[in-house]
């Protein structure tokens, strides 16, 4: 057990998915329990992993590394892919987040009654793929897990979704596929150009090798000291751009975000939760793990662009959220806005900014889980999420109202909650960055005022005023939270508060990573 903890984390759900095939399809409870048991064991494994990882460091640890396969490709040299796993201050918090959110999503999935067997099987595969993506340190392995997320998600939206589920799932599929292709092209370029140390003929997908500029074949396309120009621009800039756009679609970044609101509006609640809390993070993770460290030179010269799109996402997402009539669409756009901070933070190329970006990923993961569950609570009761159809809910759903207040204020960056810590670090980084322009940082602060505006307006419209329900719903349907829902919300609310008051719990891991990241970036210029 001690040596393969990441492998266990990844393949336990795969094994369970296999087991699920033998459970009769009408035993809904068995699937629920199986899924929850897997997540529970993963939770224990994660705690063990955190303990074994130790603290006060951002180093790569818990490494598992064996040769996966090796192919002789004649004149192309030989291909070597490794089964290479490990975690550092970036991926460990994200894996912990994944396991936690999967538990919550598992409990939330109890309301699913249609096709339970297929549903939970897909959930388990998704679980494995997400953790695999965060743990893989070989590009081919990463790509495998990355693509493996696509299909379960496609079916989860396309089969268990709302009225326009097919439109939404195909849209999601097309966008993500486009992103994948761009990423693949960059990976192939990297593979052709990179080699294992001391052996120019053996090409590699190993991220750690590819971070080192001396491991590139001299004269190859992406050789850092090479002079390849494509359309007047260095090939490395192009490769960075491919990765940037590829991951930015996943993030999602304006203007590549339009799959997200549709996917969210149609997806069932637990799938939305996973989509927003975890899958979006793969985009940010890919930028921080691959695009930036592998192309520090290009990243530094194009960071202004990353920052610019980050700010555009912050403002545009907030404005569109303000106009949304559907509560879930509003939350989806708020995600676009909040993921913009991740871009702004990493673009600043400062220790504060990068720490803030990673912190924002974790914090947004927790807060957005609450937000989508909040939308789900309403939808479960009335099948109606239109904001204008509700008024004065505070009176009949007081506990729900408290939860909404916590989630909304945490999301709008109120100090004391985790979102504030992330935002203040991002902004401080952006303000003292010499990579991005000061005006960008100033414009981004508008997002703070806009965030307050759309959340408070929503509270006022739905919860204040006289009790009133329009449309198909009736007030009898609007019962306050039940025990299962309280069990879901309590840990979420507690964690945003704890991360807001004791952020060092997490920053002890993230900060050393950010330090190494920034020195890699600025040392490479």
């Amino acid at each position: 057990m001690p040596d393969h903890i990441l492998t266990y984390l990844i393949f336990l759900p795969v094994l369970a998915a296999f087991l699920a095939l033998f459970i009769p399809r009408d035993r809904s409870a068995w699937f629920r329990v199986l899924n929850l048991a897997v997540c529970g064991v993963q939770g224990i494994l994660t705690i063990i992993a955190i303990v074994r990882y130790g603290s006060e460091t951002g180093d790569l640890r818990l490494i598992e590394r064996t040769e996966w396969f090796s192919l002789n490709l004649g004149t192309w040299g030989s291909l070597r892919a490794e089964y290479f796993l490990g975690v550092d201050g970036l991926s460990l918090p994200l894996i912990a987040l994944t396991v936690f959110v999967m538990i919550i999503a598992g409990i939330s999935s109890w309301t699913i009654t249609k096709g339970v067997k297929g549903y939970f099987t897909l959930m388990l595969i998704l679980n494995a793929a997400v953790i695999g993506s965060f743990a893989a340190l070989d590009l081919l392995l990463f790509y495998l897990f990355f693509e493996f997320m696509l299909l379960p998600m496609f079916f989860l939206i396309g089969i268990w979704g709302g009225k326009r589920r097919e439109y939404a799932s195909i849209k999601f599929f097309l966008y993500t596929l486009c992103g994948s292709i761009l990423i693949l092209v960059a990976f192939i370029g990297l593979y052709i150009s990179g080699s294992v140390p001391g052996d120019v003929a053996t090409h590699t997908f190993n991220i750690m090798y590819l971070r080192d500029g001396s491991n590139y074949v001299p004269g190859s396309v992406l050789d850092p000291s090479g002079t390849w120009l494509i359309g007047g621009w260095s090939a490395r800039n192009w490769a960075f751009l491919l990765l940037f756009v590829g991951f930015a679609i996943k993030l999602p970044m304006v203007p590549f975000h339009t799959w997200l609101p549709d996917a969210h509006v149609e997806a069932p609640t637990p799938v939305s939760v996973i989509l927003a809390a975890l899958l979006l993070k793969i985009g940010g993770y890919g930028l921080l793990r691959i695009a930036y460290p592998l192309f520090p030179d290009a990243a530094l010269s194009l960071s202004w662009m990353v920052g610019l799109f980050g700010v555009v996402s912050i403002i545009y997402g907030a404005l569109t959220a303000m106009a949304s009539k559907d509560l879930k669409r509003l939350i989806a756009y708020s995600s676009v806005s909040h993921m913009g901070y991740v871009l702004l933070g990493m673009a600043s190329a400062t220790q504060e900014g990068v720490s803030g970006a990673v912190y924002q990923m974790v914090s947004h993961g927790v807060i957005t889980t609450m937000l989508f569950l909040i939308a789900g609570v309403l939808y479960d009761r009335t099948n109606d999420r239109m904001i204008e159809n509700y008024s004065g809910l505070a009176r009949i759903m007081p506990v729900y109202f408290v939860v909404v207040l916590i989630a909304f204020f945490a999301s709008l960056g109120l100090p004391g909650f985790s979102g504030f810590i992330a935002e203040i670090m991002v902004f401080l980084g952006a303000f003292r960055s010499n990579v991005i322009h000061l005006s960008l940082a100033i414009i981004a602060t508008l997002g703070l005022a806009l965030g307050a505006a759309y959340y408070l307006w929503t509270i006022q419209r739905m919860f204040f005023g006289k009790l009133h329900v329009r449309g198909a719903a009736s007030t009898e349907q609007l019962t306050d939270l039940d025990l299962r829902e309280k069990v879901m919300f309590l840990p979420l609310a507690a964690i945003t508060l704890i991360l807001g008051i004791f952020p060092q719990l997490l920053l002890n891991y993230i900060d050393p990573f950010a330090l190494g990241f920034v020195s890699l970036l600025t040392g490479g210029s």
Binding site: R395, R432, A449, L456, F502, L515
Partner: protein, 627 residues
């Protein structure tokens, strides 16, 4: 270290109260809720008194670090409490006045179904406000700053079933958030320059880092002023406060009169070094104060809602504090904060008692004659009103306002215009205060009193009334008596005001002038509203437009709706369909259209296919010949 080491108890006790009430308040009986709510603040006030005694015997600057909050790169704010004379004055007012208002609320809110929610929010407010003034770094200060904003929001919208209240709450939060955003940019700027957000570090490094009058210092100071103006309801962010009166009256007394709205004054006083570096910023603070005190004073003259009169008066009085800050009379500003906290809390609590007694009647012209029906309220209210109007010699308001006027004239940074603004303001203040007292308490009783306040409401009134008179004598003018306790107390923290040389001799003349102006205002009020019945109606009819303008707070709401609300909502509505998605829909549409167009060529008719082949072949041959 002595008793001061228990400083952390001061914000912790109200926090515990809030947490208890949030978690279990639903299942508690009202007496238990009341004892937790008021008791926690009471204990906190006692702790402050103990600490205060220890502090007085050994005045110093105390830093109590509780834990390291964040440590990333240069960003290393701790949860640390910083106690000096300035913060001690604030925490005394917050806990002491706060406790009296909690006690008052026990009875005032007795019938309300949201009893636990009310005390939970009020306790949380006290905790946040204490953190704000005790914070040793700007990040923690910002935590308190936003925390009080949240509580203000929740309490303005306390009776949320009326949509008007929800609107007022949202307006308050968003307008102050605009100011907060400016302030936050200021913090980022300070961090980018000093690599720290520790207040002491910034203040000690600023003079050597930034030249006197440098533009960066001006920008930083003005950004902080933006935050201060938002919280303290100063021009141009003043228009949320009158609407904030939608909250329960104890809330108006504690948050929107005595404490939270003075947070801006605290911030500027705390960051005084920064402001001193920029004459432009100082002048701006003074001008903002002067203009605000005038426009709010004029608006107060025309209001008919008892609480709105007091709200405009609060804006106006904080304007005086800003004026004092702007002329470098730091201690005078804090002194006025101190006296104002007592007499304005008193006036609001009195107003609450009246409104309760009259079936929630807010219109002062439907009151009248309450002098005999509510004698305790009348006497205490009179004490507060006299202090607000700055009745010479016997009220605290006279001493604090006189100090401000004196420095506005004689101070090195003072000017004739600022002084005249203050003087006109004094006239207006006396006038609207007299009007308020006459219309409410004298004349014909328009509404019957249904219920008289009990001891838990009258006791705080009595204590505050006594203090409204007494605290003034802590700091009397130099030429009266040698008792300048406040400025002496604050001397170690705030720089002393510098006055032009040779001007001291005229101090008595100014005092006389101020006294005459105040008495004049009172007389005009008496003449218009009491001695000549019907005169005020006549004046109102004579200048209908002006009256309406003043009544509406000079049209700022309409202006902001036009300038900001409309464009933002328009932008939001324009992006409702997510315009960018249109591009992709367009691409998809083109692809489908092309597919249809090309699919029509596959029609199964042989002639068309042959034709196609022929045309294609011809095209290729032609191209081959040409190229």
């Amino acid at each position: 270290m002595n008793a001061v080491q228990y400083l952390w108890l001061v914000p912790l006790l109200p926090l515990l109260g809030a947490v208890l009430l949030i978690v279990a308040g639903r299942n508690m009986s009202k007496p238990i809720i009341a004892s937790i709510g008021a008791g926690s603040v009471g204990l906190s006030a006692l702790t402050v008194i103990v600490i205060g005694v220890a502090f007085l015997s050994n005045p110093d600057v105390y830093e109590i670090s509780v834990w390291q909050w964040i440590a990333v790169g240069n960003l290393t704010p701790s949860i640390e409490l910083h106690l000096d004379a300035l913060s001690l004055m604030f925490i005394f007012v917050i806990t002491f006045v706060g406790f009296l208002i909690h006690l008052y609320s026990v009875e005032f809110m007795g019938e309300d179904s949201g009893y636990a929610r009310f005390f939970a929010c009020l306790n949380l407010f006290v905790c946040s406000m204490l953190l704000l003034v005790l914070a040793g770094n700007l990040v923690l200060l910002y935590l308190g700053w936003e925390g009080v904003g949240l509580c203000s929001y929740l309490l303005i919208g306390f009776w949320y079933e009326d949509p008007k209240n929800g609107y007022a709450a949202r307006k308050a939060f968003i307008i102050t958030r605009v100011g907060d955003t400016a302030m936050l940019i200021g913090l980022f700027l300070l961090f980018a320059t000093f690599n720290s957000l520790d207040i002491e570090t910034i203040l000690s490094a600023a003079p050597s880092r930034w030249e006197q009058g440098s533009s960066i210092a001006t920008v930083a100071a003005l950004l902080l002023l933006g935050g201060a103006a938002g919280k303290s309801a100063q021009l141009p962010l003043q228009n949320w406060l009158p609407d904030a009166m939608a909250g329960p009256t104890p809330v108006s007394a504690l948050i929107h009169a005595a404490t939270m709205v003075t947070a801006g004054v605290y911030l500027i006083a705390r960051m005084n070094v920064l402001f001193e570096l920029s004459p432009v910023a100082m002048t701006t603070v003074g001008v903002v104060g002067a203009v605000t005190l005038l426009i709010a004073g004029f608006s107060a003259m025309t209001q008919t809602d008892l609480k709105r009169v007091l709200a405009y008066s609060t804006i106006s009085q904080i304007g005086y504090m800003f004026l004092a800050l702007g002329v470098g009379a730091w201690s005078a500003a804090i002194f006025h904060f101190f006296t104002h906290a007592f007499f304005k809390a008193l006036l609001f609590l009195g107003a609450g008692a009246i409104i309760e007694a009259l079936h929630h009647e807010h219109n002062i012209f439907r009151m009248g004659g309450l002098r005999k029906q509510l004698p305790i309220v009348f006497i205490t209210f009179l004490a507060g009103a006299a202090s607000l109007a700055a009745l010479p010699l016997v009220t605290s308001g006279f001493y604090s306002k006189d100090m401000i006027l004196w420095y506005a004239w004689a101070g090195e940074k003072g000017s004739g215009l600022l002084f005249i603004a203050g003087l006109v303001g004094a006239l207006v203040t006396a006038l609207y205060t007299t009007r308020l007292v006459i219309v409410t308490f004298f004349g014909y009783a328009n509404t019957r009193v249904s219920k008289r306040p009990g001891w838990r409401m009258t006791m705080p009134l009595g204590v505050l009334a006594a203090l409204s008179v007494v605290v003034g004598f802590l700091e009397v003018p130099h030429n009266f008596w040698h008792a300048q306790l406040i400025s002496g107390f604050l001397g170690g923290v705030l720089p002393a005001a510098v006055i032009d040389s040779g001007i001291e001799a005229y101090e008595w003349a100014l005092q006389l002038l101020a006294a005459v102006v105040t008495l004049g205002g009172i007389f005009i009020g008496y003449f218009v509203y009491m001695a000549t019945p019907g005169l005020h109606e006549l004046v109102k009819k004579k200048f209908p437009t002006l009256h309406q303008l003043m009544y509406d707070g000079w049209g700022f709401d309409a202006l902001y709706t036009l300038l900001f609300v409309k464009p933002v909502t328009w932008l939001a509505r324009a992006s409702r369909g997510d315009v960018i998605d249109g591009i992709y829909t367009g691409i998809a549409w083109v692809a489908i259209a092309a597919n249809r167009a090309i699919a029509t060529t596959q029609n199964g008719v042989m002639r068309w296919y042959v034709l196609g082949i022929v045309v294609g072949a011809l095209l290729i041959i032609t191209l081959g010949i040409l190229v």
